[in-house]
Every structure is written in C-alpha cells, then in structure tokens.
C-alpha cells in the first residue's frame, strides 16, 4: 500500500470560490492509502512547493496527489518538487480541479462533489503508480544532410562551423542544386553562381564536411541520436581520389548526343561529363546509356587519354554504412511536368519554354552562351509572352497544384528586366492572375519592371497558344481589366511552371517515417512553433521540400535547421520519456500485431528463453525500444493477449480510474 499525501490548492479564489477545498482535503483523509491531506492557497508558490517537499519527508510519503490546475500547466513543476524531496517524480498525479471543475461549474454545491470525485480518481490511480526511470540514449555527433542544393549547403556549413561532422548526400554528380542553374537572383540581381560557388568550394574544403555526390540514401534505421544510414555510392567509373579534373576526357569523348539535364535538355553533352563547369567535386561521371564503351565494348578513348588512369569501367556501386545523430532533409524541388498543358503548345514548339529553360538560355554558361534566342531557328525574338501560374493555383489536380508557387511572380519580373536590359527592343507581355510580391524590396522590384522597363502586364489568362506556319506563336488571351480578347503574335512563350517537391521524397518519407501533405511537401512537427522539425525526433527539414520559398527564406530556414541539429548534437545523452510500452514476456506470443500498429517502428522481436511453470521454453517475444517509443499506447490496445502495457497509463490504472469515477 502506498503512503499518499493529498495537497489541495485554492489557486487564490480560482478554485476556492466554487470548491470547498477544506472539504476535499477532509474527504481525502478517508481514501485508501492516504496518510496526509491538506489545502493551501497557492501550491505552485515556493511555500506551497516546500509544503509538499516537507510533507514527503515528514510523513514518508510514497505517492503524491496534487488537486490543482491542469497537469498540462504544473505537472512538471510538482514532479520536480517530488524529485528534489527524494520521491520518484512519476509518483505524482494531478487532479485537475481548476480547468475541469471550478472554472466550468457554478457553485460549491456542484463543484465540491466533482472535485472530490476527481481527487478520488487521482488517488485510485496513484495507488497503482510505480516509480519510473527516465532512460538515456547516446548521441552520435555527426549529421547527415540529404540534398546538396543551397538549403543543404547552408545547413551543412552552419553545422560544420559549429564544430560537428556533417555528411552531404547528393543524388546528382555535383552539389549546387537548382540555384546553380539560375542566372541572376531577385530582387538584387546578383549573379547566382557568383554567390553560390564560393559556398560550394567552402563545403568541399571544410574539414568537417564529407561529400557523397552521385549517391543516394538506401535505408535508414535507428532513432534520434543514433541513426544508421546506408548510402549507395553509384559507380562514377572515374576514381574521385585520382582524377585531377583536367577535363581532357570530356573533350575527347566521341559520344556527344546525350541530353544535357543541367540545361534542361536544351542541348547535348558528352557521355563522360560534369554537369557544369564549376561542379563540385570537379570529377566527371560516365553516363552508361550514352557511352560507346558500355554499349558496344569498344571505344575506351577517355581511358586512353586519361593521364592519371582515373577511369575504371569495372567500378561497381558501393554501399557505405554510417551512423548519425541527426538527419536534415533538403531534397528541394523540380518544375511540374508541362506535357499535360497542351493548350500552351509546350510539346509542339521548341519556342515555348519553361521558366527554368529560359533561365538557362539567359545564363552565359548556358546552351546559347547567354544570347536570347529562339530554340528553333536561333533568331532573336521580338515579341515575348510570359504566362504565369501554369499549374499553380490550379483547380485541376490531375495536372496542376492548388498552391501558389510563390517565386514565379518575382523571377518573371527579373527575367523580363534582364531581357530588357540586353535587348531593349523586345516587347514583353506578362499574363497574370495576381502579382504577388510580399517580401523585402519585392514590390519595388516589380514596379521597376512595369514603370521603368515598360513590361506589359495583362491581368488575365491565356486560353491557347497556336504555332503558326511562319514560325511565330499566336497567343490567345483575355484582358480582364479591359474586358477584351487579346491576340499576340509572339516569337517566344515562357511558362512559369509550378514547383513541386522532388518525387524522391515519397521514398525518403517512408524510410524516415515523415508525414507528407497532399502535394508531397513535408509536414513540420508544428506549422508555427516547430517549423523546421519533423514529427520524427531527430529529423529536420530545410528548403522547398517543406513548401515553396525563395533563396533568402531557404537560407534562413537552413540556419534554423542547423541550430536545431547543433542543439541536439551538443548533448552527450538524451533523456527518454519513461511512459513507454512494455511487453510481458509470459503473455506475449510474438504475433506481430503490435509491430504493425506501431507508427514509430519501436517494436522488434527477440527469441527469449522463458520459464513457465518450471518448464523451459524459447519464445518469440516483442521488445520495445524505449528510445523510439513515444507512449501512444496503440500496441497495448491492439495486443490480443494483453501482453503489452503502457507505463504511466497501464490498463489497471485506467480501469481503477473508470471504477472510481463511477463509484459515487
């Protein structure tokens, strides 16, 4: 039997006005196990806390019930008091007689019996409490960043600068991401590579950062502080540690017809290639589908020309296993597939381009060396039409997205201005639904495009783009402000396509048990208060993988994710919640039902020798990993043999509460 102390709080008049607190304390004295009961004005005050601590020592209490405000308010406070007084903090129960009694009932006639009932229920529960110990788990002081775009780069640099080891896993042959494909950035018009490449170099040279490019995460197991990750290093067929990056192999390669992904397929590249000149690492990759050696077994020109013998056609994919304390997902975005938008003739004419393709065309390192050209006849266009919200704010979920892609209004204004700067004679028309420019110096930027550069903004949508026999594109649109149909004979049409998370995120979300929304963006643990943390402990997010955003926002979020990671890695041990599930080996028959309902993968099985009525037996028994278990109790209800129980909310405790609640 416990020796229970009951402490009834007045909370000034908050409780005392509608509950006869003395009567509650008096009633407590006759409850089973109660050896001491009293009331006090403010239990949470220093004097109140001392009263509890002193009583624990004086009466040798083994359990405490505090009748006060909600446990969500002061449970932690009173647990600390118990801990200081030498009582296990989990031997404290709260009877919520303020929020759920005195504040919702009018007078003492109703309030007092209800408070007594709540007190009795708490006493009944605490009678069955057992001391619980917080567990500890170790922290591996190394972080993994998945994705090497600006989000991943910035997160990695911030963590590495704080003194922790960081690995970046990047799917493509080079880090840099989408930002490396851009020409200039809004609203300041700095050159994108000029601000990005120094950061890429810093990553490559940082003593705390290890780069795994052309690699993918294969599997993830473990939990916060102790993840085990398998990384597939895809065969490059070029030894990273030997290659000097001279580029001779690329100039000699005779297979030059592979689609250049970095330039969005606008031109071609060789079979052995680096995506772009400033690639980090500056080590080429062989595209086996395009390579003559891999297709026919002949050629081998690159190997013959390589002065340092870095080329190895026999290289195989390699799986490496590494341990991490924290994982940041920064897999970024791509543009949506434009094929279903047949009305804009994207599939019919090479002169209808996506905004990212135009970005490559405008880039000095792009397929046209920065000269604005039609991709069909390399003529410089005179009339250009930009169509906004292609697939953004789209009601048709089979081809578009319901959300605003956020960056398109700004980059369209930027692209229009860049074109006007170099080719003042080009007429630019922008069809828009709304122009959205919330951001520092954003609206001024847009107004400059309209007022100083004379870009023609037309509020309305385009119904159809028809390629003409003379090579022009007839754009049929509506001007909603003038209420008339507009027809423009354009030389080039640019589609501001919606952004969407990289499709790989679904596979990754399954591996990391992350939740994703209807549009495949990652869900944060709390949209306002925990914006960079995933619901899974130890996993964080950065960049467009969470929702559309621009570069400054991404960098800011990367810093936020980094400080969260650093905060985690700075700890030597993590405290784990002791209210976790536990299986009773005598009842468990290893049926796997609990494992199937556990959303955290906290349950595994082990063969265990048990003695049942003096008979030795080996059984398959469920084991709960207390570091992974969050204490939801789903397993304890699903268990068909009643072997699973939840510490702190055990079946017996809840049954005792039910009994007591109904016992008056």
């Amino acid at each position: 039997m416990q020796r229970i102390g009951v402490f009834v709080c007045h909370c000034g008049s908050n409780i005392a006005a509608t509950v006869d607190v003395a009567a509650v304390a008096e009633a407590a004295k006759s409850q089973p196990g109660v050896v001491f009961a009293t009331d006090y004005t403010y239990m949470c005050s220093e004097n109140g806390q001392n009263l509890i601590a002193d009583s624990i020592k004086e009466y040798g209490l083994t359990a405490v019930v505090v009748c006060s405000c909600s446990p969500r308010m002061h449970e932690a406070t009173f647990r600390k008091v118990a801990d200081k007084a030498g009582l296990n903090p989990y031997m404290v129960e709260i009877a919520n007689i303020r929020e759920q009694c005195s504040w919702v009932h009018k007078d003492t006639e109703i309030g007092t019996p209800k408070a007594i009932s709540l007190m009795k229920t708490a006493v009944a529960k605490v009678n069955l409490n057992t001391p619980l110990q917080e567990g500890e788990s170790k922290v591996t002081k190394r972080a993994l960043i998945i994705g090497g775009g600006i989000a991943g780069i910035q997160t990695a640099l911030d963590i590495a600068d704080a003194g922790y080891k960081v690995d970046i896993v990047e799917k493509t042959p080079s880090i840099g991401g989408r930002m490396s494909q851009l020409d200039k950035t809004f609203p300041t018009l700095d050159c994108s590579s000029c601000i990005l490449t120094p950061k890429m170099t810093e990553v490559a040279q940082h003593e705390n950062i290890t780069l795994y490019t052309y690699s993918e995460v294969e599997s993830v197991s473990g939990y916060v502080g102790d993840f085990t990750v398998e990384i597939r290093r895809k065969a490059r067929y070029v030894h990273e540690d030997i290659c000097t990056g001279c580029g001779l192999c690329m100039t000699k390669c005779p297979s030059k017809k592979a689609k250049n992904e970095f330039n969005r397929g606008l031109n071609t590249r060789t079979a052995i290639y680096t995506p772009f000149a400033q690639a980090i690492p500056n080590v080429p990759v062989i595209d086996t589908e395009a390579c003559i050696h891999f297709r026919t077994g002949k050629c081998g020109i690159c190997a013959k020309n390589c002065a340092v013998q870095a080329i190895d056609y026999e290289q195989k994919d390699e799986i490496i296993t590494e341990k991490y304390g924290a994982i940041v997902v920064a897999t970024g975005f791509d543009l949506i597939d434009l094929k279903p938008f047949g009305e804009y003739a994207y599939n019919l004419s090479p002169d209808v381009v996506s905004s990212l393709e135009l970005e490559r065309i405008l880039n000095a390192a792009g397929p046209t060396s920065g000269h604005l050209q039609r991709m069909s006849d390399h003529r410089q266009p005179k009339e250009m039409v930009f169509i906004q919200c292609v697939g953004s704010r789209c009601e048709d979920d089979r081809r578009g997205k319901p959300y605003c892609s956020k960056i398109c209004c700004m980059y369209t204004a930027k692209q229009a201005m860049l074109i006007k700067d170099h080719y003042p004679d080009v007429n630019i028309h922008v069809f828009y639904i709304d122009v959205r420019t919330p951001g520092k110096a954003f609206d001024e930027f847009y107004r400059r495009a309209v007022e100083d550069y004379g870009v023609d903004y037309i509020k309305g949508q385009v119904g159809k783009v028809t390629p003409q026999a003379d090579g022009t594109l007839l754009v049929h649109g509506v001007d909603m402000l003038d209420q008339k149909v507009v027809e423009i004979n354009a030389d080039m049409v640019v589609l501001a396509a919606a952004v969407e998370p990289n499709p790989d995120i679904r596979k990754l979300a399954t591996m990391l048990t992350l939740s994703i929304d209807n549009n495949n963006f990652l869900n944060e643990a709390h949209p306002k208060l925990r914006p960079v943390e995933a619901a899974t402990a130890g996993v964080f997010m950065s960049g467009v993988v969470q929702g559309p955003r621009d570069i400054p926002e991404t960098v800011a979020q990367a810093g936020a994710a980094a400080i969260k990671v650093v905060g985690l890695l700075a700890k030597d041990k993590l405290k784990t919640n002791p209210c976790v599930a536990q299986s009773d080996e005598l009842y468990c028959n290893g049926c796997s039902v609990c494992q199937n309902v556990c959303p955290y993968g906290a349950i595994s099985y082990t063969e265990k020798e048990v003695r049942d009525h003096g008979v030795r037996d080996t059984r398959r028994i469920a084991q709960v990993n207390p570091a992974l278990c969050k204490g939801c109790g789903a397993c304890s209800v699903a268990c068909p043999s009643g072997a699973m129980n939840l510490k702190g909310f055990s079946n017996r405790q809840i049954m005792a509460e039910v009994d007591t609640v109904l016992c008056q």
Partner: protein, 171 residues
C-alpha cells in the same frame, strides 16, 4: 395491438427489466437520478480542449468525468465495457481530428475500433446515443463544452442505462 402483444413486445420486456433493476437502486427515486458519464480525452488535443473550455469558463454538466489518456487509440474497448458494467450511462471518447493525431495514426484506429464496438453495444441493448466519438482539437474549447452539454442532454433523454450494468458492482 392486443394486451398480450403489448406485454410481450421487446420494448415492454425491456421496460420491465429496466424497472426491475431500478427497483434495486437504493434510496434513489427517478427524480434524483443524475447520469454518470465518462469522457476519455486524449492528452494532446481533447484534454487541452477541455482545459480551454475551462479557461473560457464555458460550462458543462458536472456529471461529465474526464479521464486523461495519452491518445484516443489508448482506449481499450475493455475500458468502455468496464464503464458500462460499473453503471455508466454514457461514454464519450474524444481525440484529435483525423489527420492531426499527435501519434500520427492513433485516432484512425480509434475510429475503426469504436465503429465496431458501438454497433456491438447497440446490439447488446446499449443504444448508439450512449456512445460517441468526437474530434476536439486543443483550440476547440467551445466545441468541447457544446459537445458535452449535448451529450449529457442526450443521456438524460435516454434515461438510466442498465443493460450491461452488473448490480453487484453498484454502491
């Protein structure tokens, strides 16, 4: 309908059985009866919603007794059967809205499990009105109070529940 038919109709039998049980209630006449209602609330949404109802002084009847559970998915059907065995007149189970479960999937299990349990209870004579699952978020204090008022009213109109009560448990 003949007198015999009236006497042997299921409603009449039920009525008589109920009266027989009620006769055992010591010193309690029909007028004094107040329902006993158990409300299981998940810690993260509904218990917080109940706290918010308190903060806003949104009142509901005192016969509602809240039991805190970590997740609505922690409520074992046995707890509900136990409540009826111990003389509860109604049981309500509150959790986070579907999709918002703090533990990701707990309330989906609750939803399916309770649909089955409540039909079984209905079959056993515990009317569907006596059992309820409601999603109450931490910001829905007003909804919590309104739901509890409505539920208590419903239980009052249904009257005392005796179908599963074990009178040996009565005190």
């Amino acid at each position: 309908m003949s007198v015999t038919e009236k006497m042997t109709s299921p409603e009449a039998v039920l009525e008589r059985e109920n009266l027989a049980y009620l006769g055992d209630a010591k010193g309690k006449s029909e007028g004094e009866w107040t329902p006993k209602i158990v409300a299981f609330c998940c810690n993260w949404c509904s218990y917080a919603g109940a706290d918010l109802a308190g903060n806003n002084r949104a009142s509901y009847p005192a016969e509602i007794k809240i039991i805190r559970v970590p997740c609505s998915g922690r409520v074992n059907p046995l707890f509900i059967l136990r409540a009826f065995q111990k003389g509860a007149d109604g049981v309500i189970l509150c959790g986070c809205h579907p999709g918002d479960c703090h533990y990701m999937t707990g309330n989906y299990y609750t939803r399916r499990r309770m649909a089955l349990l409540f039909s079984m209870l209905d079959y056993l004579g515990v009317e569907k009105g006596r059992t309820r699952v409601e999603w109450v978020s931490a910001s829905e204090g007003a909804k919590f109070a309104a739901t509890m008022n409505e539920f208590a009213e419903k239980i009052r109109s249904l009257g005392r529940n005796v179908r599963l009560e074990d009178i040996r448990c009565r005190n």
